[in-house]
Symmetry: C2
Subunit: 342 residues, 2 copies
Amino acid sequence: MTTIFDAQTPALVADAAILAGNIATMARALPGDRLRPHVKAHKCTALAREQAAAGHASFTCATIREVEGMAAAGLGEDLLLANEVLDAFRLGDLVTAGHRVTVAVDSPETVRAAAEAGIREVLVDVEVGLPRCGITASGAGEIARAATKAGLEVRGVMGYEGHVVGMPDRTEREAACAESMGLLAEAHDAVGGDTISAGGTGTYDLNTLATEIQAGSYVLMDTAYGMLGLPFGQALGIISTVVSVSGDPAAPAWAVADCGLKALGMDHGNPSVSRLEGGPEPTVWFCSDEHLTFAPNGPIRVGDRVRVPPAHVDPTVAYHEWLLISDGEAVVETWPIDLRGW
Amino acid sequence: MTTIFDAQTPALVADAAILAGNIATMARALPGDRLRPHVKAHKCTALAREQAAAGHASFTCATIREVEGMAAAGLGEDLLLANEVLDAFRLGDLVTAGHRVTVAVDSPETVRAAAEAGIREVLVDVEVGLPRCGITASGAGEIARAATKAGLEVRGVMGYEGHVVGMPDRTEREAACAESMGLLAEAHDAVGGDTISAGGTGTYDLNTLATEIQAGSYVLMDTAYGMLGLPFGQALGIISTVVSVSGDPAAPAWAVADCGLKALGMDHGNPSVSRLEGGPEPTVWFCSDEHLTFAPNGPIRVGDRVRVPPAHVDPTVAYHEWLLISDGEAVVETWPIDLRGW
């Protein structure tokens, strides 16, 4: 049996109990179709299957590859591509084959791409305060009319309050979320439809407008979301081997683990480090391509293992081929991260 | 014929002429075994084959997977794993099969792992000022003796002046390189052997001690190295499609391209953006998982394409499956990035 002490490193590992707890906690708060889990956070159909087993049949995707992979895994009952694409033609065959695929549109060009692809259903994507995709609330009705005219069924609206989900103070987060959702409500009035799709892990219980929440990070969590006091535990870390120790192992100047920039999303900054077998908390110094240099703040030896929780889960997972699931020291599952790429 | 205007995006694309120029320029400066190209920068055996065609038969690798892939591609004449590993046993079969594999060692543990794996040759890795792997210069002799005692042939020393290669001022870089190499020379005096392996793209013509230079970035280059005035052109960019434009396309507030955190190494900061068809230079605002939000500073339309040169090549390449090679607008080659993972 492989353990976290002999698995090949760097190894992306999630704790089975914390993972199951996160899925159960969310399923209680947002049962069934109240949650549309976002697969971009884990890119793993085996993990999506656990979410499906908890009652969620509809999923959110960020890329065409994610849609394709979810459909191929038999999880294509109701897939939302919550993103604008001009190569929607890649999705036509999935729709023909009976998978339900809804795409986000926010412009005449994306409406046309969807219609020409044989896509049947869309959501109008609304900009709710984050300067990214989405039409203004006041322009949403016109996009909906263009979609209808092109023969598409408009299921409703979506709008991601991405500038809100990470706000540390819950009261401020709630107020900012309400302000964002005011824009989405205005758009929905103009667009109609049954669906108001929005939200993320940071607003899963604050967003009272959305008919479905697109949370994804709650399953694995990261250090950024970990600071918000949410009822989800940090399941994910990278198990890494200490490959070099500078100076006396009893009082080393620094140590180096085999987990670097090619194993870590770095946009939220450095990861943290903890020892697998207890002991003083190390201090991270910096990452190189394949290395993490840190002050061990106590004895450490070449061959010791550390856990490296990334600052940002999503771009971290996208570097890895496998997600190991651990139960204590034992590695009990090895799941392919099969939704990578575009 | 696929072009950069219809290739699926985000697409990692290198310009054929700039690539060939970079390889030729380096091969003139450091012919044959004077250069040991580092494959970590591109992780692509097809590109390594171009370097081999330019006369370089020995290569540097950062991971066991890179060594395995290079050997499998028939490029295993002289591979240096310039990194400490405890799972050297994974390399034993390659050595038995006749590939020449040399590994870096800096501790009794890594010496033992190499010897037990059936590795025959090592370099003593020396810390030359960058707090990462490597034994101190004064401790190098002891590691060499341990290796010899374990039945390993010590080919010499290596030491990477990674804290030096990016220094903007050439005179300072040269002085700092000389200081670093003073330590490596001291270590070499104690260790012996024919090989002094060191250097990178930023010191390729300043490091006068090294018998071989481990440069890798010179082939593709990035914006960080681009500021040093080196004779290598920026070959690499990510071709990306504008999927959303905010406001009037004639005077938009912002635009969004499909190139985000999962397509870009972010440790050196944001990428830059330029238009494929000329026009005002855009200003990058921020990256999300699958999006790059930027101010176009002039008209832009949904469906337009932009080129996104990453701030740091190595962790960018590691996200992508394919490297397209372009000649003008035409995509003339599609090379698998086949050395990813560990």
